[in-house]
Symmetry: C2
Subunit: 337 residues, 2 copies
């Protein structure tokens, strides 16, 4: 059988079936943003890995080495944050072609170092290997959380509010701009630069998750938006065995994103729903706590917005700005194959 | 500057200088077989990563997918064992070309699963990405040890005995045989098969390190032999700021290794000293404890042998079987570039 018949998630499920599960200390194995392992002291360790491959995930003609280093740390910190955990330490595997210049590696490590500093991570080790041709960077990050404040994809209940941090769609549009150097874009170059930067230097919501974990707000489930809002919401809902209404009119869109969409005749809602790599937190909350949460994020710097509601009935109803209700069968998003 | 001017270890030291060190919980960062991170309960977590790249570290014409999966787990478990720690869990990053057959992946995961079972590891997650051309496998493994039983490269004192588990050289000779399919080898095919198997399916000394960690034997330093006995002994000695006498006549050589060397006119001692990937434990012990240790390993299944002695004077004196004493300036071994 070929890979494309199975798809990414079909493949992972199949591979997981070969792995014997041994220890009771594995609280969560394959299937969430991080795996969870219980520690003797009663805390939880969370662990995640993300690899970036040259020409698949990045292009050294448009990404600086500093940005590449930064992004590698940020995408992993985002997975740790999505569990309600604080990033602690990481190891990096570097695959480099023999022709690599040391100056390039210095700059890569400056970016890694800056992101480690920003997200509170210690890079404690790694492995360095040579590759036949393409660059490869793989990072494994460990975080910690108290048992009671572990957030997972499972736990959303009908009636809960659906919220997200930041804005959605910037990164996908930034990537689209990067990938079409020949195209004539209308609108402001500063807007386009902002969108590209959001793609190349994403942030991770480490402070925001810490604020939520410290609060008494009843967060019922969480995921980070990496594959695309539609697809990641789908993951969260299927883990929780519920459905949702998603409100197009409420999606938090940045000004540069809205402007660029309007000026170039792009469907903002579709792009926001399907585009990946926002690295925002998507979470559900007991509806009685919404007001308190929104109040606590006033003047905080990071916007938090309610974008829908959990329903008992499975599937996602996409409530368009024009009032039309559309059922999303298979949420759009990024498939890695 | 180019990579080959700097060398692997020069490069790692240089990259490490860009990384801010933040937390006091980092007991050991870059520079040992594993990094060490202290846990709230007082135990230590150890962490290591090793990547295998197709055409650099393995060749799918001579390695089965099961062996590849097995080896990926074993080499990491060996680094964990070298810290006196017990392997606990791992995450794997898989980079696969789009043309990969699912059956191949099934077999890879059977090998991974079998090794996880053998070494007591839970594979809790990972990442799956597509690569332009070559296979890539990167595994990060976490282990645990009690604070008092952490073994590191540093701690060997003049007068300590140098010991190792198992035999040395098999894997390097196995690789040599694999890499010369056109060559006419003399001696028994069964011997050559054994050596190749030692290269493709190495073991990790997880039980042996647990036995040492549980005992009252005063192990003063430890490393695993991955780059070659000479080079890894060099790492241990320089971390401990001591030297050594290494006794060629005492090196534990397997019968298949000795036979194949003799029949093909190969210098057994040189090969054992320079060849990598034995994945045996190399350690130092207070000399008063040697007898007790050797006794405790009688009938245990894994041989343990004294192969030399730590000296105050730095450098390695290689005492040949013919009585000649040779100073090894730069120990032979595997450089990854
Ligand atoms: N790219 C890297 N970034 C940070 N640390 C690294 C990197 N590569 C290797 N290291 C660290 O350098 C040390 C030596 O690495 P290595 O020779 O691969 O160890 P080993 O042979 O025991 O696996 C280890 O502490 C490892 O964690
Ligand atoms: N090759 C693999 N082996 C084992 N588990 C894997 C592998 N690839 C991915 N996983 C696991 O499958 C789940 C989904 O992976 P992924 O889509 O990459 O998550 P995310 O997008 O949140 O990083 C995660 O729990 C991850 O740990």
């Amino acid at each position: 059988m070929d890979l494309d018949r199975l798809g990414e998630f079909g493949l992972i499920a199949r591979l997981a079936s070969h792995i014997p599960h041994r220890s009771r200390r594995v609280v969560k194995g394959i299937g969430d943003d991080c795996a969870v392992y219980s520690q003797p002291g009663g805390n939880y360790l969370v662990v995640t890995a993300d690899a970036l491959i040259e020409s698949v995930h990045f292009d050294l003609n448009t990404t600086t080495p500093e940005q590449l280093g930064w992004k590698t740390v940020a995408v992993n910190a985002s997975d740790v944050a999505a569990m309600g955990a604080a990033p602690r330490f990481a190891v990096v595997t570097l695959g480099i072609p023999k022709t690599t210049k040391v100056n390039f590696l210095d700059r890569l490590y400056k970016g890694l170092g800056r992101a480690c500093e920003a997200f509170g991570v210690d890079l404690v080790g790694g492995d360095t290997v040579s590759t036949p041709e393409h660059w490869m960077l793989s990072l494994t990050m460990l975080g910690e959380t108290r048992k009671k404040r572990l957030f997972t994809r499972k736990g959303a209940k009908a009636g809960d509010a659906i919220l997200m941090t930041g804005t959605v769609g910037d990164s996908a549009l930034g990537l689209q701009i990067l990938k079409s150097p020949g195209k004539k874009w209308s609108g402001s170059p500063a807007d386009r630069k902002h969108l590209i930067q959001r793609h190349l230097e994403p942030t991770a919501r480490v402070k925001e998750t810490a604020k939520l974990a410290k609060s008494r707000l009843r967060v019922t489930s969480m995921i980070d938006v990496s594959d695309g809002l539609g697809q990641d919401l789908g993951h969260l809902l299927s883990a929780s065995e519920v459905g949702a209404e998603l409100w197009e009119a409420s999606l938090p869109l940045s000004k540069p994103f809205e402007n660029t969409c309007i000026k170039n005749g792009l469907e903002a809602g579709e792009l926001a729903l399907g585009g990946g790599e926002d690295y925002e937190l998507l979470f559900t909350l007991k509806s009685e706590d919404v007001k308190k949460l929104l109040r606590s994020f006033v003047n905080y710097g990071t916007p938090v917005t309610q974008i829908g509601e959990v329903t008992a009935r499975q599937g996602v109803v996409w409530v368009r700005t024009n009032g039309r209700r559309q059922t999303l069968r298979k949420p759009a998003g990024f498939n890695h194959f």
